[in-house]
């Protein structure tokens, strides 16, 4: 009896396109829900978490001297052999790299160089915009690595940004006070 009534109900539903109507209602609801698009690079930009492994940078110590002691452990551990270090000795007798090149075209951003470094001199930052028209430009030298921005203490948010055709995407604020992007994801 119950099954028969269910069947009749289904048939009546079909006759009045109940299933199609529910589908239409769903898409209509979605039409007026917030969009999840991040307007990169026109208006917004995703600032990665500080655990993110982006472009490498070399650190300086308190006196402004490069921290790296050119032990070449990072070059040894690098699985894709993309780090090249040439040491020299300065007038105080300290060992430093005269050449420190990372071929970011070959790098797989595993972060092993950061783990291996005994002097805490190299780390992977949050920068991820370094595309180039030539793979030669992706070989980054020592001074460029020193000039790269270090790790931001915060991350994991959308910040206001705008496209700058000359250089990178210009970030207008560093704090991810924008909004939490995950908020817009509908879970049904």
């Amino acid at each position: 009896m119950l099954r028969a009534r269910d069947r009749i109900g289904t048939w009546i539903g079909w006759a009045f396109f109940a299933d199609l109507a529910s589908a239409l209602a769903l898409t209509f609801g979605y039409m007026f829900s917030r969009s999840v698009t991040m307007q990169y690079p026109d208006k917004e930009k995703w600032l990665p978490y500080s655990r993110y492994r982006g472009h490498h940078f070399l650190k300086r110590d308190d006196e402004g001297e490069i921290k790296c002691v050119a032990c070449e452990l990072c070059a040894r551990i690098c699985p894709c052999d993309c780090i090249e270090v040439v040491p020299y000795e300065d007038e105080k007798g300290n060992r430093h790299p005269i050449k420190f090149e990372i071929d970011t075209a070959r790098c797989l951003f595993c972060g092993l160089c950061e783990d291996a470094c005994p002097a805490d001199a190299i780390a992977l930052g949050q920068q991820y915009e370094f595309s180039s028209f030539s793979s030669r430009d992706l070989v980054i030298g020592r001074d460029d690595l020193l000039a790269k921005p270090g790790k931001a203490p915060t991350g994991g948010g959308v910040v206001a940004a705008r496209l700058n055709t000359k250089k990178d995407v210009l970030v207008e604020t560093n704090e991810p006070q924008g909004y939490n992007w995950w908020r817009n994801i509908r879970r049904t």
């Binding site: 199609l20 589908a23 239409l24 769903l26 898409t27 209509f28 979605y30 039409m31 007026f32 829900s33 917030r34 969009s35 999840v36 698009t37 307007q39 026109d42 817009n184 509908r186």
Partner: protein, 328 residues
């Protein structure tokens, strides 16, 4: 002198109509992409102009400057003829479509239609049937298996859906006792036909979806299985012709649905200018078309055929008989 003025008026109206129909696909593509985006929680075009408003212009420039490619083994004459054959009938049809009674400009009453034919409905259906030629020539001339498959599907689909569509509007003709679209709208001044002809409207609308080759009946260009159907091999401006004809047919089906079943320019409750009422109703139908497109999947080919012949045709026949009984 009077003859010249009358002729000049007709030429002006036709030119205005052609300009309107040629330009309307531009905002419609933008609207369609915006609706698609928002239904999928995206934003749609955003970068060209304010909220991507100039995107259709950019697309148009792109289409105009693209290489006009003709496949090596193609039938060149038919290949060039097909887009024109597909584009012309939807434009010709609009000659018979009224957009309102008349408006007064500088003290002169100017009617909002090019011609008031007494067999306008018949004219519309016969001319729109000619569009099949463009489709079948385009598919055949391209000498590509996808195009031939697509055009065969389209032909079968258009022919089998024109029959229930034609039968569905007979109920409306019976109610108005006239085939003139103007008289049909005048007959709906008090009560819209949708009240008397719900089944007729249903059949007409579903057949119209198939006629305009919109999802869920867009088997002609089923991009998933046929590339792009009959216009797979077309590029540049010739492809744009097919595209424009598709949008004009969508507009035509919306306009026909409004005229035949939703009272044309007769308003309810809110007193608005008749032309505005008409435009609002047509816009609603166009939105409905787009809403359907981004909600439903595509029907299988045999399902399409069985819906047309086994469901819509008997329903439209039953509608005629019911209307006849109600008359007695």
């Amino acid at each position: 002198m009077e003859l010249i003025v009358a002729l000049g008026l007709i030429v002006f109206k036709v030119a205005l109509l052609i300009a309107m129909l040629l330009l309307l696909p531009l905002p419609l593509t933008w609207v369609e992409r915006k609706i698609a985006g928002h239904m999928q929680q995206r934003m749609g075009p955003m970068r060209v102009g304010w909220h991507g408003l100039l995107q259709p212009v950019a697309d148009g420039i792109k289409l105009l400057t693209k290489e006009d490619h003709i496949p090596a083994e193609a039938d060149r004459f038919l290949f060039k003829l097909a887009p024109i054959l597909a584009l012309a009938p939807p434009f010709v049809v609009f000659v018979a479509i009224p957009f309102g009674e008349s408006i007064s400009v500088l003290g002169n009453e100017i009617s909002l239609y090019v011609s008031d034919m007494n067999v306008a409905l018949l004219f519309v259906f016969s001319v729109i049937g000619l569009e099949v030629y463009g489709v079948i020539f385009g598919g055949w001339a391209a000498n590509s298996k996808y195009a031939v498959l697509g055009s065969l599907r389209t032909c079968a689909q258009m022919i089998s859906y024109e029959i229930p569509m034609g039968f569905a509007v007979i109920g409306v003709v019976m109610l108005a006792q006239s085939m003139s679209l103007l008289d049909i709208v005048r007959a709906q001044a008090d009560v819209w036909n949708i009240v008397y002809q719900p089944i007729g409207f249903l059949v007409f609308f579903i057949a119209g979806l198939a006629e305009a080759q919109r999802i869920p009946f867009d088997l002609a260009e089923a991009e998933g299985d046929l590339g792009a159907g009959f216009h797979t091999e077309y590029s540049g401006i010739r492809f744009a012709f097919f595209m424009v004809s598709e949008y004009v047919i969508m507009l035509l089906v919306s306009v026909l649905a409004v005229i035949l079943f939703f009272g044309g320019w007769n308003g309810v409750l809110i007193p608005l200018p008749p032309l505005l009422w008409f435009a609002l109703k047509v816009a609603l139908f166009i939105y409905l078309f787009m809403w359907f497109r981004f909600t439903f999947p595509r029907y299988r080919y045999d399902q399409l055929m069985s819906i047309g012949w086994k469901v819509l045709l008997p329903l439209s026949m039953a509608n005629i008989i019911l209307t006849g009984i109600a008359f007695i």
